[in-house]
Amino acid sequence: MKEMRKKIEELLKNGEIDVALGYRENPATGEVKADVFRKDETLDDMVFDERCVQNLVNYLPTLVARYKKVGIVLKGCDGRSLVTQLVEHRINKSQIVALGIGCEGVRLDGKEADKCGDCATNMTPIVDYEFGEKKQKKDPVFSKVKEIERMSPAERWKFFADYFARCERCYACRQICPSCYCEICVADQQEPKWIEPSAKLSANTMWHLIRAYHLAGRCADCGECERVCPQEIPMRLLNNALEKAVHELFGVRPGTVPEEVPPLVVLNKEDPDTILEGKNE
């Protein structure tokens, strides 16, 4: 951490970056939040530890629009979500300096965050400066997804319908997701109304299905959607189910390979037709 702080100080000083996006601790409350660090200030408040849950990539597009060059502190999972951003021309690599840090896991509500159990890489795949230790990771197991998969279709629907019905459609999940950046979200469209504006089960179901599908092969499991959901809808389950599916179907783990094109737009004539068949119950 010290090393990283020093590096960032140096980068800011010699103008290699205009601002740095990192985590700031409020010494009074002990709270840690995303913030922008500038040249003329001390980096004493900059921290990196298990409290740094937020994915900073979501703030990048606004910052790169305002500054020429932005440094960003990246955990493994956040780095994965950056891959999609770069491939989809949302951010130009030349405008950012990636400061990867070996993540030891983050904590939410006093215990290790769920997503860390399924961590695919603790070091960002895109990195300019590397700090801390890079660990060999096992493939995610997605045990909760498997639990759902063991249920009958009716049980599964009951499980999800209960959650979907609670959705208020505040779109916090959309707003926090770095990969949800459409100019006009399909949920806001009138022509036609694929998703009706009112918060009711049928429209909420459409919203959650479409949200999950649109992230298929792009979601890097940073878990922010689920974290910010005021109704505690388990959105990571849907994301993970598709992450698992994409891996099983196409052998791809989204975001782990720089410059990899999202699997849903890859042309592969050799896909077997069996991928179109239903899985056994």
């Binding site: 759902i148 629907w157 999800f160 694929w194 092969g217 189910a241 598709l242 849903l264 737009v265 037709d273």
Partner: protein
């Protein structure tokens, strides 16, 4: 009314192969259940899974999508892209509780009128076998 009891099927067919196949089923007078509603799209590559989601929410019992056989796409590669998309959409729908037998994704060429009729009949039978189970996702009235 009898028609109401029949499971309702939405068939999204590409214009060049599968829709022509459905036409051939007609020209050849192959009888199949009257509950199939065909939507023509230019290519299976045009099929956005949102359409499939919507169909289930709107209360269809089953959805089938069909295009040209791999390699035969009129537009070269549309069906390969469709295959990937639909494979993922199917996993998602199954995950939230749509019974796997309610989805049928296949390739039907313009020459396969018989196959189209057979698929429709078989699919209808499969859906009838599911008639006791819940039609998940389907909304019931305006407010849900």
């Amino acid at each position: 009314m009898q028609v109401e009891k029949e499971p309702k099927i939405l068939a999204i067919l590409c214009k060049w192969c599968s829709y022509a196949g459905a036409d051939l089923a007609g020209t050849s007078r192959f009888i199949y259940p009257a509950n199939v509603r065909i939507v023509q799209v230019p290519c299976s590559g045009r099929v956005d899974p949102i359409m499939i989601f919507k169909a289930f929410v709107e209360g269809y019992d089953g959805v089938m999508v069909s295009g040209c056989h791999p390699g035969d796409c009129h537009y070269g590669t549309g069906n390969y892209h469709a295959r990937r998309r639909i494979a993922v959409a199917r996993r998602l729908l199954e995950f939230v509780g749509v019974h796997p037998d309610r989805m049928h994704f296949t390739w039907i060429s313009a020459a396969e009128g018989k196959k189209f009729a057979d698929v429709c009949s078989r699919f209808t039978d499969e859906l009838k076998a599911l008639s006791g189970t819940e039609k998940t996702l389907a909304r019931k009235e305006l407010a849900t």
